[in-house]
Symmetry: C2
Subunit: 154 residues, 2 copies
DNA sequence: ATTTTTGTTCAATCGCGATTAAACAAATCA
DNA sequence: TGATTTGTTTAATCGCGATTGAACAAAAAT
């Protein structure tokens, strides 16, 4: 009973992980695998445990796990002598998400600069708006750099 | 010649806007419309100018524009006496993107908290990892609050 | 009143990633 | 060696949002 209830709560959480990772561009199954590895009390699960717990085909699991391993999100643990593969959540650099966000900011900044360059009237309403955005991005990046430094030295 | 070259550059930029907005969950056409309204020297374009410049069906344009207007990304300008609708880029609150990012942080934070709650061993490797992430999120939010204040009073 | 312009609605299609099933390969066991 | 477990590969399918085309509606022009 207790166990069953716990499992249900875990399943709900796994789905929430799934939709979160789905929202940032992961395949649904990839998100749910990360969810399972995050939620499970046992931190190393076999291929078989993953497919049966998530009720997914071996094919899906194989493809998605390979990708997750290649991306460095999941680690494979091969126990000596055994033939099974075990998978565990790989801990990420905590600033990785911020890195990606800043890269996105950079690309937007570049895009806006090019856009302004191409404009006949650099003082037009939109051009001024774009200048403002560029400015805000710059402030944000300065701020983030300071924060990283603070965390590093802490 | 000059004109044609300029138009090509604009088209490239419009596609870049398109793929950027696509990457953050917009329909391709929505992204390209925003791109056109951003890049165009004329800041108010009619329905017809949009469909013909982007080579899209009236149906698509109608649906997508309605949505963009509903979301507050595009404004409709109806000139007195005329029957045409004109569309212009609506300038956003510059912190809107950050707002969304912070909301996402909040939801992740909640998810991780729930996950830790459910764990048998709160000192497990993953649990400790999740605590670290929560901590970093908190630092980030504190920092952002300070930055906003600074921008407000500037 | 009729025609033209302007835009909307909606059924049908298109494209594409996600997923599966089943055949296949490789390693271990008996 | 033959049987079993463990995972991979790939062709086919599924699902779903994006897009179109064509019929339709509303307003203005003639």
């Amino acid at each position: 009973m207790q166990d069953n209830e716990n499992k249900q709560k875990q399943d709900q959480l796994i789905d929430k992980f799934g939709s979160y990772f789905g929202s940032i561009g992961f395949q649904p199954i990839a998100g749910r695998i990360i969810g399972l590895l995050s939620v499970s009390d046992c931190e190393e699960l076999s291929f078989d445990e993953i497919t049966s717990r998530l009720q997914i085909s071996k094919g899906s699991a194989s493809v998605v796990l390979r990708r997750l391993v290649a991306e460095g999100r999941v680690a494979v643990v091969t126990v000596e002598g055994g033939r099974r593969h075990y998978y565990r959540l790989k801990q990420q650099n905590l600033f990785e998400v911020l890195d990606e966000f800043e890269r996105m900011c950079d690309s937007v900044r570049g895009l806006l600069n090019t856009t302004i360059d191409l404009k006949a009237d650099k003082k037009s309403s939109n051009a001024r708006y774009f200048y403002q955005i560029i400015n805000t991005i710059d402030k944000y990046k300065t701020n983030m750099a300071a924060m990283r430094q603070a965390v590093q030295t802490a």
